[in-house]
Symmetry: C2
Subunit: 190 residues, 2 copies
């Protein structure tokens, strides 16, 4: 079925554009230019711009869930899995320098314009939060797990914002190193 394929293309292009330019600042023309599709034809696939946003968020949720399970397979120890999270900053360094954190910037924008889908965007944060919480629990800190998860989320978020503002790649690397060291203090010695 061709419909699904076109729909996926639209979501993919919108996803990228929403990240690079922001949701409000991205018009239908921008998306149609990227997908090479007629502007008016959008409404065969989506009923509104908000509808595209929902699809984009939903796609990001899926992609994130897959990434998290990937990390669970890659790192056998919880500390290794958490380090996978910390290192996204390094992995996506260039994107972050240019456009900031995809989760943080979208959440902030939608909150500011009081968009109906802002709760759905927040769910992306919750996904990471709960996953990290689980890892910290497995690491042996069940009581503090949620606090540690929030702490790590906040630090990553701050690093992304500042690195982007100052175009400072080295800052990312330094802070990632520090976060790994911070994490090591919570790894039980055998």
């Amino acid at each position: 079925m061709k419909k699904q394929k076109t729909r996926d293309h639209i979501v993919e292009a919108a996803d990228l554009l929403f990240y690079q330019q922001g949701f409000e600042h991205t018009s239908f023309s921008d998306i149609s230019d990227a997908v090479q599709i007629s502007r008016g034809n959008f409404y065969y696939h989506f009923k509104s711009k908000d509808d595209i946003l929902e699809a984009v968020i939903s796609a990001r949720m899926d992609k994130t869930r897959k990434m998290l399970t990937q990390w669970e397979l890659k790192g056998s120890r919880p500390e290794d899995r958490i380090k996978c999270f910390i290192r996204i900053l390094v992995t996506n360094r260039d994107k972050i320098l240019n456009y900031g954190c995809p989760v943080g910037t979208l959440t902030t924008e939608l909150a500011k314009i009081k968009h109906a889908s802002r709760e759905e965007a927040n769910a992306l944060f919750t996904l990471f939060r709960n996953w990290l919480k689980e890892q910290f629990t497995q690491l042996g800190h069940p009581a503090d797990a949620d606090n540690l998860a929030m702490h790590l989320l906040a630090r990553s978020q701050g690093v992304a914002t500042l690195a982007s503002a100052f175009q400072d790649a080295k800052f990312i690397d330094d802070e990632v190193t520090q976060m790994c060291e911070w994490l090591n203090a919570y790894v039980p010695k055998e």
Copy 2:
């Protein structure tokens, strides 16, 4: 002269609206409604919307500079002055929960839309950065001063973003406490 007074009112109202709704999402009608002034009359005071933004940023720079000198008078020791910075999160808790950090959100928005004034907005970050750097130097860490300043900026930024996303006031308080403890490790013992 009445002109200056009206101009100040406009800047004040625009400042608040840009913070609460974002720059792009705030229209001339929004501002004129707030100031109770005719929409078309704006162009007697400003030559464009971007011009208002410049004035708002400039006003924020002035206000920030005043705040920083205030802190220098209030805290005689550098560690006390740095704690003034850390505690803005607590002081402005409600605003931050609703609208995030004024500096971070504006910087991020302007960067994303590649607005001409994004460098000017970044200067707000630089103001804090240099001031903090100076305090850490006075604290006896001249070599690390800039790194420590960036680190603290990033943490505050992250806390604001996450607290706003999760509407979590307690998270702000906890993290502020942690940052103060972190700072204490850098205070020389006598």
